[in-house]
């Protein structure tokens, strides 16, 4: 790196670095090029590492997805074009996984957004013990995902000794009804997985929305209140529009994480009873069935789905980003 005093760093969200003053034409250009590389150098290790470790495998997946390749019959490897995609989209189970993924993601994201909004509104007020309540509310998000899934599977949902049926039975004793001893996971497997995920992701939504609520321009609220606006009107016309982008951000980031989610499906139902989502199917095709071609095609489909969401997410992040930048 050259001496720091030669060029003041533009820094922050500022303009690109100005080219150095030229002396002789040829020499100047070479010096410029050297300086550009010196600026780029700190970036390169991270960039190269990321491309090698994350982008190259995707290219390989894309190639493998065009081959008929079962590891149990390695000699029969052959090019099939889009044959594996036909298999994935033609197989009812695999098609079901696409639907399951969509339903699981949409339900978890929407419900945890709504619950998160409620929690954020409650926690936005000042009250005794607010910090403590906030801390215990985010605890579910900080459990190791497998541990959280085990907690729901065995400790809450178990039909014989689970807390849920136990509490229902006690409520039944108090209020005089007979609580049904339900086997929650086999009766409503997808809902069971969703419940565990909603419980873990609501705090995440709450944190994002709380940050949004706390960045509200309070002068506007005072002015509106002076004009006689009711609480509902304030919420409807000031809070919601302000929160819109935070809601979008929560929904999109949540979708990106949940579309890829594996742990709860693997732990709670083992992908049975129609709860296998695409990541689980990819895992199963590759790990259990050793169908490398089909697994890769399913993987590519997950990528396409994620890319659709990601494009939207990038747009939202970029608009928030520009706003932060212009404020600075």
């Amino acid at each position: 790196m050259t001496s720091a005093t030669t060029k003041a760093a533009p820094g922050g969200q500022g303009a690109p670095p100005r080219p150095g003053a030229r002396t002789a034409p040829g020499q100047g250009r070479r010096a410029n090029r050297a300086k550009a590389w010196a600026t780029r150098a700190p970036l390169l290790p991270a960039l190269i590492f990321l491309i090698v470790v994350t982008q190259l495998p995707f290219v390989a997946t894309l190639v493998i997805s065009l081959f008929d390749w079962n590891a149990l019959y390695p000699d029969d490897r052959a090019f099939t074009g889009f044959g594996n995609y036909d298999t994935v989209l033609g197989d009812a189970d695999l098609r079901g996984a696409v639907v399951t993924t969509a339903v699981l993601t949409a339900t978890v994201v929407l419900v945890s957004l709504l619950l998160g909004l409620g929690l954020a509104l409650l926690l936005d007020r000042k009250f005794a013990g607010r910090g403590f309540v906030r801390t215990i509310t985010i605890t579910p998000f900080l459990l190791v995902p497998v541990a959280a899934a085990l907690l729901w599977k065995h400790i809450l949902f178990n039909p014989e000794y689970g807390l849920l049926n136990g509490l229902l039975a006690q409520l039944g004793d108090i209020f005089g009804f007979t609580a049904p001893e339900r086997d929650w996971i086999s009766e409503m497997p997808l809902v069971a997985v969703e419940a565990a995920l909603i419980w873990q992701w609501t705090p995440f939504m709450m944190l994002i929305l709380l940050a949004g609520l706390q960045s509200r321009p309070l002068e506007l609220y005072e002015a509106a209140r002076l004009d006689g606006a009711s609480n509902w009107q304030l919420f409807r016309h000031l809070t919601l529009p302000h929160l819109r982008r935070y809601l979008e951000l929560g929904a999109l980031l949540g979708s990106i994480y949940i579309v890829q989610h594996f742990d709860a499906v693997f732990t709670i139902t083992g992908g049975s009873l129609g709860t296998a989502n695409l990541p689980y199917v990819v895992y199963q095709e590759f790990y259990a069935a050793q169908e490398y071609g089909v697994a890769s095609a399913a993987g590519v489909l997950v990528v396409i789905g994620s890319l659709l969401i990601a494009t939207l997410a990038l747009r939202v992040v970029s608009s928030l980003f520009r706003e932060e930048g212009s404020r600075a």
Partner: protein
Amino acid sequence: MRIKNASLTLGAWLAGMVFFLPVAWMVLTSFHSESDAASNPPAFTAPLTLDGYREFFGTGGGPDPWPPLINSLTASLASTVLVLLLALPAAYALTIRPVRAWRDVLFFFLSTKMLPVIAGLLPVYLFAREIGFLDNIWLLVILYTSMNLPIAVWMLQSFLAEVPVSVIEAAQLDGARLPVVLGRVVAPVVLPGIVATALICFIFSWNELLFARVLTGVTAETAPVFLTRFITSQGLFLAQLSAASIAISLPVLAAGFAAQDKLVQGLSLGAVK
């Protein structure tokens, strides 16, 4: 008005309690004997015991949890250090002394995070098998580094961007050289951000299951993989399951509470402050 405020406060406390209840119950169960843990109706006031934790730490003849715990610690710490070593210079080149297309580069980093890891798993597995790198904790270190690098670059750039340009320029006008400026002016401002970034990377690495499950076997098994042995019921095992889950979650809980204030900024990739 006072009644309304009191009921809203009560509501907030209740809502928090409802979310916390399952965790509290798991903690309580981890201190119960196996027969009390599996009682119906739930035994809220059963005597407390450390048997569950004794069982988890292997004194009861069960599997030894220390190798997976040490593996997880190695993978999480080593990948976090590696992430910081790669991300700090990159964030510097995106803020303090930005490259020309710094915005595009930043969004390239983000876009890699949005591609699902599952889609790259098979080639990684085949390649690792080819070079004899399966069931090796350093394979996970490399993968966790790539998994967390985009998050770290985004977080660090958002923290570095908060350093006022004028401060850096003033120091440089006073004749301070770049390393001095970075060490004396930038570092103190950014340090809490670097710590938060490290904690969040640590959490994500510690929690990861899919890679660890597919790419490790006996030697490099991590703590979440250790937990998967509780997936199938094994008679009376709730206290042991709870003790193991709580013990394995403790490092993440500690890191999460420590990083609480910066958690949103990290999870939203710096988009929300």
